[in-house]
């Protein structure tokens, strides 16, 4: 089963997104 692979850092994720022509999804959450 596929799970979302959450990246750790913004800049490498932006480079990956640019190269793959994919948008970035930034998810801000709280544990509550």
């Amino acid at each position: 089963m596929t799970e979302i692979q959450w990246r750790d850092r913004l800049q490498p994720a932006m480079e990956e997104a640019r190269d793959a022509r994919k948008p970035l999804l930034l998810y801000f959450w709280t544990p509550e």
Binding site: M1, E3, R9, L24, Y27, F28, W29, T30
Partner: protein
């Protein structure tokens, strides 16, 4: 979102295939938090910020989204991203797909609104009139129908005359 939406198989597959995803716990320090958030603030969570690969913001959404609503929202974002790449036919596919696959989602009327924007770039004013009329007929109570209620009668009559000529 973390308990219901992200574990959903369709959501996980679609996000993995079409997006690059990062999550930030707003209660914990993260070195990229400020840069990721841009000029905005987290007034409520969950907050979703969508950027293109150059870091330009495509869209911001506050609040929980169940799987179907989220899948529609993601298609809307992909349509907006395609518009920024001037890929208007691709944008139309995403916008129309959001409305067709998830017609009861809150993203559906907005997707039809934006489809008129992409349609304008491909077919000019007649496409806007046709698509906004469709939006207003299908979702007459939506805020997006109200936003599309701007086509003067003379423009609509002119388009209709051209189509019958």
């Amino acid at each position: 979102m973390g308990a219901v939406t992200y574990p959903n198989a369709q959501v996980a597959e679609f996000v993995s295939e079409r997006f690059v995803a990062i999550k930030f716990n707003v209660k914990e320090p993260h070195p990229d938090f400020k840069e990721a958030l841009g000029r905005g603030k987290v007034l409520w969570a969950p907050l979703l910020v969508f950027l293109d690969g150059r870091g330009s913001e495509l869209r911001r959404y506050v609040g929980f989204l169940p799987p179907d609503e989220f899948l529609a929202e993601l298609r809307l974002v992909l349509g907006l991203a395609a518009m920024t790449h001037t890929s208007f036919e691709e944008a139309l596919r995403w916008f129309d797909g959001a409305a067709e696959l998830f017609p009861s989602s809150s993203a559906a009327p907005e997707a039809l609104f934006w489809a008129a924007g992409a349609g304008y770039r491909l077919g000019g004013v007649p496409e806007v009139v046709r698509r906004w009329d469709d939006l207003r007929a299908r979702y007459p109570e939506s805020t997006w129908a109200r936003r599309a209620d701007v086509v003067p009668d003379e423009v609509r009559a002119k388009v209709a005359a051209e189509q019958t000529a």
